[in-house]
Symmetry: C2
Subunit: 486 residues, 2 copies
Amino acid sequence: MASRRSIFYPAAEIYPNSPAGFWDFGPVGQAIRRKIVEVWRHEFVQKESMLEISGAQILPVAVFEGSGHVRSFADPVVRCLKCKRYERADHLISENIKKIVPESLPLEELEELIKKNKIKCPKCGGDFGKASKFKMMVETLVGKLDERKTFLRPEACQSIFLSFVRMVKTMRLKLPQGIAQVGSAFRNEISPRQAIARAVEFSQMECEVFFDPAEMDAVDGWEEVRGCKVRLLGLKSGKVEEIKAEDLVKKKIVPGRLIAYYLARTQQLWNKLGIPLEKMRFREVAKEERAFYSLATFDFEVETSLGWLELIANNYRAEYDLSGHMEHSGTNLEYAKEDGKKLIPHVWEISAGVERTLFAVLDASLKEGKEGDYFALNMKTAPFDCGIFPLVKKDGLLELARKIERELKDEWLEVFFDSAGSIGRRYARADEIGVPFSITVDYESLKEKDVTIRDRDTTKQARVKVGELKDVLRKLKDGEINFEKL
Amino acid sequence: MASRRSIFYPAAEIYPNSPAGFWDFGPVGQAIRRKIVEVWRHEFVQKESMLEISGAQILPVAVFEGSGHVRSFADPVVRCLKCKRYERADHLISENIKKIVPESLPLEELEELIKKNKIKCPKCGGDFGKASKFKMMVETLVGKLDERKTFLRPEACQSIFLSFVRMVKTMRLKLPQGIAQVGSAFRNEISPRQAIARAVEFSQMECEVFFDPAEMDAVDGWEEVRGCKVRLLGLKSGKVEEIKAEDLVKKKIVPGRLIAYYLARTQQLWNKLGIPLEKMRFREVAKEERAFYSLATFDFEVETSLGWLELIANNYRAEYDLSGHMEHSGTNLEYAKEDGKKLIPHVWEISAGVERTLFAVLDASLKEGKEGDYFALNMKTAPFDCGIFPLVKKDGLLELARKIERELKDEWLEVFFDSAGSIGRRYARADEIGVPFSITVDYESLKEKDVTIRDRDTTKQARVKVGELKDVLRKLKDGEINFEKL
């Protein structure tokens, strides 16, 4: 359906042999993706009073020496001796032995595992050669003709760390404070796959919360989440348990309230986006499997048709990033508290994949209907607020429908117009892409100045006065009324 | 002020010698930039029923062979023989002789002009060597280890041309139809300068309107704009004249109504963003100065403190792009009309720079106030809808102010909270970044359940009941009431 309705499709697909791992988003996919970002901005950035910045995607090499990426950001790969194809060594082994293999395993151990399990090339059956490290950052050549090497950022958050001291100085930043950003990142995936879930170019919604580790338990809003049951796949238990946020702290599963707070808020937000609670979990990640900079990691995973998919990396990056940039840049990145005490703030990171969230939201909303499958998207993520359909194009119905379209658009409602084919076909096309309401303009509309509004999920219909339409849609969207009440 | 309030600042500025031409946008700048995009999306994409897509930024080399960029997208440069610095030859000469020099001039003529006008290196006074062509596309190395060269797109529109045939097949596209996109583009500027107005990495809001040239005069909504006076700097007249849209067509200044329509709509939209009519013009561009693909070009320019700045390239690209991609990709990109006739649609392009628009909007709104300069941004582009200030932090005022903050945020109003310093200082800080209204919670608020709302431009104040605040702000924002009425 993604391809048929152009929700997403391979970039430059009209050219033969365009590289894998790049995707375009059509009008429906882009609208849903934008809505997801808007909900995240509303719930996280604005309600949590975070600062939202937007940084350059291309950054100098020195930045990635400071961040550690030049040294350590490389994937273990093996190459088929026969067809010359490269594979991610850890993924290849994981898929064969059905067990997670940490990417940080020494190359010799990976080679050993391939040999021991007799793993052959999945494409041609050939043997694999020695394992090596494949640099994952995408190199760019810019600027003056002489010194041109730069990198596309492999994670959007680096722009946040680079901006931190400026926020302290010019935005009167006081700890704890979140800085957020939505933007692209680029990773030289050796084998892009799983559609939009593992691409070279992708977007992230990131929050980096800076705090004083001595005050990790001082969290505004703690009362609101302390009883929230967080779905945790613990390292010890090996199964998903629902644990109250306050118990995560008491049982020392997390190092402090701030982390429990954001785990709970994250769970609530992705639930609002349309992911059912029973399909989500935070997977506690063992030290050897964690990113090199993280003191604690809880991957937020969602069960999809691709299996459990990691949507969000929740990392306790501590002072790793600011320390590294301070050392390599020579700029003092310390924060001075009101009492004069200086410290390098710690960081809790909530790094969410936009396209993975899109995939999971679509996947979770896919339902079987009488007229075929459709996305039962909620009103927050639906690509349009409603469709507008004149029953026929003649006798003034087209004009009235266009007039209603204009009025609703003036109110910043997002609507689309469809006058082609039978009403049934138009309903089905709108249902399929998740439009919650369809409005039909018929002959009665001319006399009675009202229209039919149809609910996607129940297919029930109601008559609403044209003059009240914008208020009714607004109230349905805000959840002030439900369709039954109409 | 941009730097002091972190509206924008150089990317990776904490590292010495970070390359020029890359910018980060702080919370205020990013908010205004986002609002500009939202207004454009509302007025152009949604009201004109365009399809909005979002394409990959990295594209294969073959795409740019099809688009002509590999062959022709290069800037003429000269290098100082003494300090080894590169300069754009055409810009260097233009600045020296105060006359526009087309970049398409043969290299020998550029060298001749430098010699004739005795132009020396502006940095060290040295002589310049021979002129050469500098490739403007930013190269990226991705994918498999073998064939890795790709390019970052130098103009966002290529994603639109690549998606066109898919839109026809899956979105039931009928001509005329606009396809829009907002996204980044990258150009290897030899001398990035003028702050954010000429960067290597920048963003564009682009509309490509596809149409049948035989039906160029069939434009929905023509009646609404035919009388609109378009400010044109014509090639012949050499001065700005206000010409009705319908006269642009009658006098054959533009090839058809569709182009006059979009010139008028563009002028209206940028006026809504806050650019006064008297500071804008469409500059008709001579053939030798136009981009190689354009049959007609009207640069939309705005007078700023940097001089006349081009915000939008309006190009009649005709069938250039689709033909090129059809030939190079081998994919048929023809459009079949209802009568069976096939054609390569023509394209009218409205390619607007996001950061240049941001710069012009800030520049046009800068006013002198009693407490210092401030941005008199309108409510559409202001970074926040209002500020909320408790008079003091004690006696329950802080709590009441926080409660009001939460309620307004729940209504999707964008507000910020400030409890530090005197009320006067807080007003001044909010005024400076263009916040239109400041709300003060004082002792009376506790008893009377009302607050003071202060208008930035007049500094007048009114009392409003807390319960009515969200409606009042919404109405002020939508222009349903004005402050005087309060």
